[in-house]
Symmetry: C2
Subunit: 487 residues, 2 copies
Amino acid sequence: MYPTNRGILKPTNYEWSRFMKAPKYKVIINYVKEQITHGIWPVGSRLPSQRDLAKQFGVNRSTVVTALEELAADGLLEGKLGMGTIVINNTWTLMRSAPPVNWNVQVGRGTHQASLSTVQTINLAESDKSLIQLSKGELSQDLFPLEEMRSVLIKVGHELEPFGYEDPKGNRQLREAIAQYLAQKGIMVDASSILVVSGALQALHLISIGLLERESTVFLENPSYVQSLSTFQSAGMKLHGISMDTEGIIPEMIKEAHQSKNSVLYCHPNFHNPTGTLMGETRRHELLRLAETAQLPIIEDDVYGDLWLDSPPPSPIKSHDRHGNVLYLGSLSKSLNPGLRIGWVAGPEAVIDRLADLKMQTDYGSSSLSQRAAAEWLSSGLYEKHLTNVREHLKVRRNAALEALQKHLGNYAEWEKPEGGFFIWVKMNSDISLSDLYRKALAHGVLINPGRIYATQKMQNFRLSFANAPVEDLIKGIAILESLIED
Amino acid sequence: MYPTNRGILKPTNYEWSRFMKAPKYKVIINYVKEQITHGIWPVGSRLPSQRDLAKQFGVNRSTVVTALEELAADGLLEGKLGMGTIVINNTWTLMRSAPPVNWNVQVGRGTHQASLSTVQTINLAESDKSLIQLSKGELSQDLFPLEEMRSVLIKVGHELEPFGYEDPKGNRQLREAIAQYLAQKGIMVDASSILVVSGALQALHLISIGLLERESTVFLENPSYVQSLSTFQSAGMKLHGISMDTEGIIPEMIKEAHQSKNSVLYCHPNFHNPTGTLMGETRRHELLRLAETAQLPIIEDDVYGDLWLDSPPPSPIKSHDRHGNVLYLGSLSKSLNPGLRIGWVAGPEAVIDRLADLKMQTDYGSSSLSQRAAAEWLSSGLYEKHLTNVREHLKVRRNAALEALQKHLGNYAEWEKPEGGFFIWVKMNSDISLSDLYRKALAHGVLINPGRIYATQKMQNFRLSFANAPVEDLIKGIAILESLIED
């Protein structure tokens, strides 16, 4: 139901309910709640008259009454004789009237601010099943390995022994299975240098609250999906976007920008989100050298690495790391299933120890059941078999998308063929307004992610996911884009 | 493996490895790592000679060599001809040399600082199977419902349908099962007012980072197990302990201390940890009235509520809450199993929405497998059956513990009989030094939790858990305490 650019504050319920055509009384309820939440209507204030509300929302007075009755039952309102309807409670909302992250102040360092409402709208639109999802960075449910997942669970069930809290770094068997899996990528780490996390986002959360000082600089690819998250920003980090070329993030530009000790490089060498770029082998070595000489640690995010379509990618940067400069993130969310909530961090043991402490302080570890299921997937060979199948299907999807793009948008856009992952980064000709296209597409039932939510500057690109929608919808959606442009 | 007072920074590996008698070369490795981590030996610095290290640790030089070789393989050290052994890497550790929470500065508001090393030692000692665990707040593995857990998993496996990211508030079926379960306690909430979390600690983490302003005051029972956690403090909250009587926390004392708007009351009415106190019905109403009149929101922690032993406790405060002043926390960790990592928060929908957003930003939701298993436990009636069994066994354990206390410590201590939960709060006579008793007990293989880790002042109590150790160990452990006192 959710995309790769999650973890974003929702639009107000009110905006959303209007957008999604919720029942009218619900729209009114959400509107009233938000006036109270935001302190616009403090405790003791009187609501507009029922007649005025009815007029404002273009509904019958009975609809207004239904809404107010529900709000009264919630303890938020009270009808007082001769005084109309009064706000009687907002205790919790008094405590913090603004969301914890102030998106208006800091989303990037550039002059162009990512649009809050766009990110929010996309986030919720991604769970709208009536839309053609050219946006969602999640494997299609057609690719859910139902038989295998069932058999894994049943096996875990049959073999279950009593369990309780797991080891702070995660279930031992799972960590050993991860160590073996990483060894196939050339990453030689002991289970004690691995932390099991509930997905790569949690790893970023732990790193940002536990390893980085406030005001640290995070260098990252520009564009980057992290620009649409609040993970680093809410921990007080500054994001500093670095340009990319066809080989990935450009080391010289990091060198130029790297001033203080308190910096870290976050990068995404395999099938970068959103651009699909595959970082070449030389570039990987250059980044590692930079890390070594400039004491700039690297967070290497490899959640798409298993989803190569043509040939395996070069070895991870981590596989060449001899001095513990790289923290490596992986996950089953993209390649197998996000509902397991299983990912991992591999790095120097002292760092992993610290992250494990922090994980204990926030959630006492990941689900024992998920950890056991993940261990079974990895160690039984089922995961490798699943990958073979997924790659085959994703390749068909990618090729269909490329073909449809050529047919329908060949005159209006350009793109590179991605060698893996979920995304094609489509650059529209400069005379086409991306924000218009996004809006019109949404109105016509097609959801795309305009590039500006990933970048600090204006973008002529959108991110097209070929992983989620059925192939026929993929083609249909691209055709609709063509017709909208021709309009 | 872990207790109720978790989420605490570990002692240094070095201290711990010495304490636990790890192999000597491991002790040396941990020592060297920590010198580097803490910046005592910066990059480029030379280690003491092998001979000096051997002398310092009282080992052969070959043991030192083994340790240094392992550290060199980790990329931390390098032997340089004629220069000895040099530190060559500490990139990650440079970034933040102190742990994120500075325990030395702020653990309570009183004059007595909780001892860091005691909390840390206990935390790790709780996973030492050779000790008699009079400390651990976790159900004995004898009470793990193995057959039922297996059958639940197998059923979930057979009935599995494709899943992905769950709804931000958690799996719908689970939330509906929780709503029904809460209705039995008189808490009438809709599934949309419930957030599934990975245990009650995560709820506290989300509340403290998302609802409370920095510098807010958290009123809480004194003593409170929260004093041994860093959850609120690491989010910048001030803890303000309030005295208790036999009915629980004293409302008048909150009134006196309550100055600013930015305050919240955290309390634990059912079988309070660590004292076992059950809050009376009148007291519950008083607290709710206080919340209403003083606009002081309440976080009601009810993780032990299902574990009543004699008769069901009064209804939760939340069941009387008509104005959305109470956030109610529950969990399966204490009463069923902590490895599921499933708990919940019930409260005003607007607050739950906000917490759900925050949960998305930190981990994208809890495990789908655990959520499905929890839903099955709750809706099948298996959970209720399990509780009946657990209550019966816990009652036997409590009574055995009380009897042993009477027999062995009757002359040295006093206590109240707890009506539920896991703990007896044993108050030693004033001529007995609690810290001596704790240390000697540990040296003799018995782990108790001295009261001072839960309080801001000195305490003559210790927390005895009757939930974890086998009954014969429970009795044996108490007898050992007697012999230590008599010495």
